[in-house]
Symmetry: C2
Subunit: 130 residues, 2 copies
């Protein structure tokens, strides 16, 4: 059984691309380029090169059966988010989840609905680990 090694933490530009693929599903370079272009100027070949590198790194996998290759993430959104959150949690928050949450709340004002959502999430989490 082949154990694919964990891909490295995505860089900033790579995360932008992942965000597009997460929301769009399997995408071509053109799809991603069009999406990113809406928010900031970017050359097509820049996105292409990045996605090729991401495929090498194991962040994306690609289907070459069509002329325009179709890319999708190797790892789920949840897996990658967990890695990123865990990394920041350890490195900047000393592993304190409470401080981590406080960081998120102080970064941006949370709505009432959002707070309720978090509370519900905590309840379910506790239920699951009990």
């Amino acid at each position: 059984m082949i154990k694919t090694p964990d891909p490295p933490r995505p860089t900033d530009a790579e995360l932008d691309i992942l965000a597009v693929v997460w929301s769009r599903g399997p995408s071509t370079v053109r799809d991603v380029h069009d999406a990113i272009r809406r928010r900031k100027p970017a050359q097509y070949t820049t996105i292409l090169k990045l996605m090729q590198i991401m495929a090498e790194k194991g962040l994306l996998r690609r289907d070459e059966s069509e002329r325009a290759h179709v890319y999708e993430p190797c790892r789920t959104k949840e897996w990658t988010r967990r890695q990123l959150a865990g990394d920041l949690l350890e490195r900047a928050f000393g592993g304190s989840q409470a401080n981590f949450v406080l960081g998120a709340l102080s970064a941006r004002k949370a709505s009432r609905a959002e707070l309720d959502e978090i509370r519900q999430l905590l309840d379910e989490y506790e239920k699951g680990t009990r």
Copy 2:
């Protein structure tokens, strides 16, 4: 009134140094080097260079009145954590604080005490914004 521009996001190596200064308070290069050395091999001049660069960037400020310069953060731990959390929140979690919290919880099992701490934090947060 002079408005010092926000310093850039600290890099990985820079965050290691900030973590030391956060826990130790104002420190010399030697202090930081000794602390970091305990966890991984590092040359003294590597730490020195990094801290000099951090001072240029506005991440650290230094007091040169003593022979061994004393460094301290320009921004509070809380400010920097807020920046880092906010950055990751937007870029990897689409701004969803609930998903952000879920990421933290799934990265590492939370103890009962930690969950309670988070709940209390939510209550106080809501009280403060009401």
